[in-house]
């Protein structure tokens, strides 16, 4: 697209509103930067506890993203392509955790997967396995709140995808699985990447469901958002620095991945911008 041309057709009121939107997002960040105790920043960041929390956050959010892809893509496919009674209900159900207050989500996870939960009681009884207070519990809580972001994005892409591409593949002798891998998946790659990044970002910032379901223990379940929140009471300076670390990591990933994943070859399918 020609930047000069698109600029000239962009109406002034929209420009002003967009500028306000940019300010709305950048001012809080500037506020954090402004209040950050730069002289002590290094020691707060290199603090063992902070590094442990950061490492745990990265590990858990990557796991949550991976699980969201493994289960979320088939779910999105089911919702987009298979007509079955109650599909709208299932869709609402599977995206409910987007609107559910995360703390409530955490409590609901107890009832399902906790020691006394519908499924959790058997995990406990038969395998002596409990999710709460474990790193796996953090991953479960993060996946619970993050997966809908991927499902919604991928489902929309599957709906927009020309079904005849898949038809063409089938008529060329490709099985449905081969078609899915070689035709469908590459065609929705930008949306899948966008959905995965959204899910990852949501998982990285997850607080409520994590602390409710998995608790808060350094090294096991205390992710960076939890340590930021706890530091707010005792050491607000450290909280600000840790929050900035979280932001910096997200920023680096979002900007870094944009070019690798979102851009295709010359003349590729329209990019999903992020």
């Amino acid at each position: 697209m020609n930047a000069r041309r698109s600029g000239s057709t962009f109406p002034a009121p929209a420009k002003a509103l967009a500028a306000i939107a940019v300010a709305f997002f950048s001012l809080p960040l500037i506020g954090l930067l402004w209040r950050a105790p730069w002289s002590h920043a290094a020691e707060y960041v290199t603090d063992d506890a902070s590094l442990t929390a950061l490492k745990l956050s990265l590990i858990c959010s990557v796991w949550a993203t991976a699980l969201s892809i493994v289960f979320g893509v088939p779910l999105a496919w089911l919702l987009a392509r298979v007509k079955f009674p109650g599909r709208r209900f299932v869709r609402a159900l599977c995206t409910l955790s987007m609107v559910l207050p995360p703390v409530v989500g955490g409590v609901a996870l107890f009832f399902a997967l906790g020691r006394r939960g519908i499924v959790g009681q058997y995990l406990d009884r038969w395998f002596d396995f409990r999710l709460p207070f474990t790193t796996a519990g953090v991953v479960v809580a993060q996946t619970f709140v993050a997966m809908p972001f991927l499902v919604v994005t991928v489902e929309a892409a599957l709906r927009q995808l020309d079904g005849r591409l898949e038809d063409a593949s089938r008529t060329l002798g490709a099985s449905s699985w081969y078609t899915f891998r070689r035709v469908t998946l590459p065609a929705i790659r930008p949306a899948l990447a966008a959905g995965a990044v959204l899910a990852w970002a949501r998982a990285l910032g997850e607080f409520g469901a994590t602390i409710t379901f998995a608790g808060n223990f350094p090294g096991t379940t205390q992710t960076l958002p939890l340590s930021v929140y706890l530091a707010l009471d005792t050491n607000p300076e450290q909280a600000i620095v840790l929050a900035l670390v979280l932001i910096a990591v997200s920023f680096a990933v979002l900007i870094g991945l944009r070019d690798r994943w979102f851009a295709g070859g010359e003349g590729e399918a329209p990019r999903v911008l992020l």
């Binding site: 005849r164 063409a168 008529t171 060329l172 490709a174 099985s175 035709v183 010359e266 590729e268 399918a269």
Partner: protein
């Protein structure tokens, strides 16, 4: 390699009931108005829409037969399908697109590449083998789609409006190429089109599909000589009136009477050629002309020294008169007019 198909399939408002036989090496064009079921018929043959009842048999093998529970998936049908806008895989190169069907069937990469390359060469696109579809023109994309469909040597080739998306200039060239490829293709070929020129140039036989039924088959010349549907009549530019003949009068379902010359009794089609129709401002009671209908002028098209005049009323007709006559009559849109035709100028044949 022959196709035998008896298809009953309902899809929304479409009620498709078709019986079709195609011989090896034969190219059949499916012509018909929008929504008549042409594309759905192709999709049924490809296995993309399972039929409700009937039987599809290719080379003696049942592909789809609900009564016996037989349904072969599209990927097991040995077919080639060229979709209307080619549906090339955008993220793959031309070579990968053409090799797709071979790879999907498990052929080794080197062999698949060799065969795909041969076909790309055959359609004259060697320079584009490493390009991706967005870099191709419409005609080039069409040729890639054809090569992709033919590289697996299918028993049946299905082409859905293969030329519709092309501009007029490219169309002629691509049509000529397609004709060459179809001539050497020894399987069954079905071609959906709405352009009689395509049907004429590419097909051995046409089948006219209207509202889910094949209303006429034969060579294009046969079919246009004796239209049996409004679609064909419009295509050829004649007026078609369907009804029942009794004692020299054809009566339409709406009750309009058309006096015809000798014709056997029973359901029949009457063809009224536009230039057989005369237009007058007044009813001429003493005329020897025996058919006379009053109507309103809805459309006037001047074509050189001739003009086609669309009339609506008891009978919708298109008349063709000289522009001189048109000007002499001072005809305006909305004017009431009397259309007359001699009974001997009307062709009647049994339905």
């Amino acid at each position: 390699m022959s196709l035998h198909a008896e298809i009953t399939h309902r899809l929304g408002t479409l009620d498709l009931q078709v019986e079709l036989d195609v011989q090896p090496g034969e190219v059949v064009a499916l012509l018909g108005p929008n929504g008549s079921g042409k594309t759905t018929l192709l999709r049924c043959l490809a296995g993309l829409c399972p039929i409700d009842a009937g039987r599809i048999e290719l080379n003696g093998v049942a592909l789809d037969e609900p009564s016996s529970g037989t349904l072969r998936a599209p990927e097991t049908r040995e077919i080639g399908f060229v979709f209307q806008d080619y549906t090339l895989f955008r993220q793959m190169t031309v070579l990968e697109n053409v090799a797709f069907g071979l790879r999907a069937r498990g052929m080794r990469a080197a062999e698949a590449r060799r065969m795909a390359t041969a076909w790309i060469d055959r359609v004259g696109l060697m320079d584009y083998a490493r390009q991706r579809p967005p870099a191709l023109s419409g005609g080039q994309a069409q040729r890639v789609a054809l090569a992709r469909a033919l590289v697996t040597s299918p028993s049946m080739l299905l082409l859905d409006e293969p030329l519709a998306a092309l501009d007029a200039g490219t169309r002629a060239t691509v049509r000529r190429d397609l004709r060459r490829h179809l001539a050497t293709f020894d399987g069954v070929a079905l071609l959906v089109t709405h352009d009689p020129v395509d049907a004429y140039a590419l097909a051995d036989r046409v089948a006219i599909l209207d509202a889910g039924r094949i209303v006429q088959t034969g060579t294009l010349a046969d079919v246009t000589a004796h239209p049996r549907s409004r679609y064909v009549a419009d295509l050829v530019g004649v007026n078609l009136v369907a009804g029942d003949v009794l004692e020299g009068v054809l009566t339409t379902p709406a009750g309009v009477r058309v006096i015809v010359a000798d014709a056997p009794a029973g359901p029949a089609f009457a063809v009224i050629r536009p230039h057989s129709i005369a237009l007058n401002r007044d009813v001429d009671a003493h005329s020897s002309v025996r058919n006379s209908w009053v109507g309103t002028i809805a459309e006037v098209d001047r074509l050189g020294d001739r003009a086609r005049v669309g009339i609506v009323g008891t009978l919708a007709l298109t008349a063709e008169i000289t522009t001189a006559a048109l000007d002499a009559l001072h005809l305006q849109l909305g004017d009431e007019i009397n259309a007359t035709v001699k009974a001997t100028d009307i062709d009647v044949y049994p339905a």
